[in-house]
Amino acid sequence: MFKNALKGLSLFLAAFFLHKAALAAEVVELPTEELATESVYPVFDKPVSVKNRNVVTAGRFEVGGYYGNALTEPIFNVSKFGVAGYYHINEEHALGVFFESNAAGLSKYGEQLKEVKGNSGATIHLDFTRAPAPESTVMVDYNFKAFYGKMSLSKRLVFNLTTFASAAVGMLKYQNKAYPGLALGLGQKYYLTRRFSLRWDLRMFANNAPIPFYGPSTPTSSIDPTVGPAPTYAQFSERITYTTNIGIGVAYMF
């Protein structure tokens, strides 16, 4: 009788614990650190970032003007004034032409060197107006408009912009002759309206050019007016020069 009572009790306990386990299984608790804290953006096969472009450039022409500054020009006037015209083949590629005219005169350093102390301590007069100066540049320019976006000014004003890379080939005319050259650069356009934009670009020009630093050891001519007559342009040596240019201007699309 006692044995049977024990059996019954053990069965009762077994049923009781199973019952508890069944209830416990309903609650699933996960460690907090395993829970997601941030949403994840889905990855799409064919993502399209811009559904409706505010500024449509494909198949349109653009003209503009700008001021340029030859940042690494040592001797001659660093200012340039340019005009440019482009045809936008599509939203990514544009092809055009730009023409720049160099301002006449000397740079700040060119002016300083008119009267300067030489290595020997004596005063030297270097008149670089006797050297052939750059006059103008004309180049065919290709623009790769990889980035298109929009910016907001403190959430009050929204405007569009493009960032582009440029590659140009053409001719640079000096007072003595014209030299072929190329230019690579980066720039941005800020569209104030759908047609009108402000632009800036940074270009590195590489071209053959006459070197203004003329000084044969036995001078029959010199760029120093106190030493002798001016050399002919043909007497100046040539080499490849690299000049960094920054341009700031406006453009209008139609």
Binding site: N4, K7, G8, L11, F12, A14, A15, F16, L18, H19, A22, L23, E26, T37, E38, Y41, P42, F44, P47, V48, S49, V50, K51, L71, T72, E73, P74, E91, E92, S107, Y109, L113, V116, K117, G118, N119, S120, I124, L126, A146, F147, Y148, G149, K150, M151, S152, L153, S154, K155, L161, T163, L202, I211, F213, Y214, G215, I223, R239, T244, I246
Partner: protein, 278 residues
């Protein structure tokens, strides 16, 4: 007979005790079945529209499928997932992103390469370390240390060799240390070839510091800058900026000379602590 009675009583007892658990599970399944029903409804909604005219074979197949589904619903189980492959594709999914790189009350540590772009006599380049703290999304302060080294360009060598004039008197900066106030009024997004969106911001900075010059002097410096910060994640960004350093320092001949250096800086930033998720 007595033994059978005992077994019966014990079994009844077990069944009685286990009954609440069974009910509880059924209740849970009730919730789950509700979910399943919802899924079923969703599946029904997403199934492409059926053809109006069906062949007899297809009609039989459809009836069989409906019977199977009905049976599965009665058993409260999903057995046939084949219809999932016929879901109508999304015609358009738009993702609207929040501000990607929050900065408020965060530090920005930047390591960058810098070069002076407007010195025709010396090629000057160096490393710039910056630490910024943002009080708000728009306003922050930034400490800057820049160390630079220079080498003479060909024009400086030619001026020396052909005209006996050293370009050293023009000078170049060796290092700069200063503090800027950063104002970031522009926030934007750029798409890369219409495939990827890159959040960025455009900032302006103004500050002051001290520049040591190659001529041996040093001078109080006004520092102005503008640049862009392209977010790669909530912690990292790449950035570039143009900044102008205006200062006066003693020249090699003892006279005071004014300098204006235009620096182009390209670098990478690390933001900390971790952004607060919203």
């Amino acid at each position: 007979m007595k033994r059978h009675f005992k077994t019966l009583v014990t079994t009844s007892l077990i069944s009685f005790l286990a009954l609440p658990a069974a009910f509880a599970q059924e209740g849970g399944n009730g919730g789950a079945s509700d979910d399943l029903n919802v899924i079923e409804m969703e599946l029904d909604k997403n199934v492409p529209k059926q053809q109006t005219e069906l062949t007899p074979a297809a009609r039989n197949q459809k009836m069989d499928a409906n019977e199977d589904r009905l049976e599965a619903q009665q058993n409260n189980k999903l057995t046939d997932f084949s219809s999932l492959s016929h879901l109508a594709p999304f015609s358009e999914v738009s993702v609207i992103q929040k501000r990607f790189l929050p900065k408020t009350q965060r530090f920005q540590f930047t390591g960058a390469f810098t070069t002076i772009t407007n010195n025709p006599w010396f090629f000057t380049a160096g490393v710039s370390l910056k630490l910024a703290y943002y009080l708000t999304e728009a306003w922050g302060v930034e400490g800057i240390y820049t160390a630079m080294s220079s080498s003479a360009r060909q024009s400086a060598n030619e001026l020396h060799d052909k005209n006996n004039v050293s370009a050293d008197s023009f000078g170049f900066p060796k290092n700069y240390m200063g503090l800027d106030v950063k104002y970031t009024p522009f926030y934007g997004k750029m798409s890369w070839l219409n495939k990827k969106i890159i959040p960025f911001e455009h900032y302006l900075s103004v500050g002051a510091g001290n520049t040591s010059v190659s001529t041996g002097g040093s001078g109080f410096t006004l520092h102005f800058g503008t640049g862009q910060n392209f977010a790669l994640s909530k912690r990292f960004s790449v950035n570039w900026d143009f900044s102008m350093m205006n200062y006066s320092a003693q020249s090699t001949d003892g006279t005071n000379q004014s300098f204006s250096d235009l620096l182009l800086t390209v670098g990478m930033s690390f933001f900390f602590p971790e952004a607060k998720y919203r």
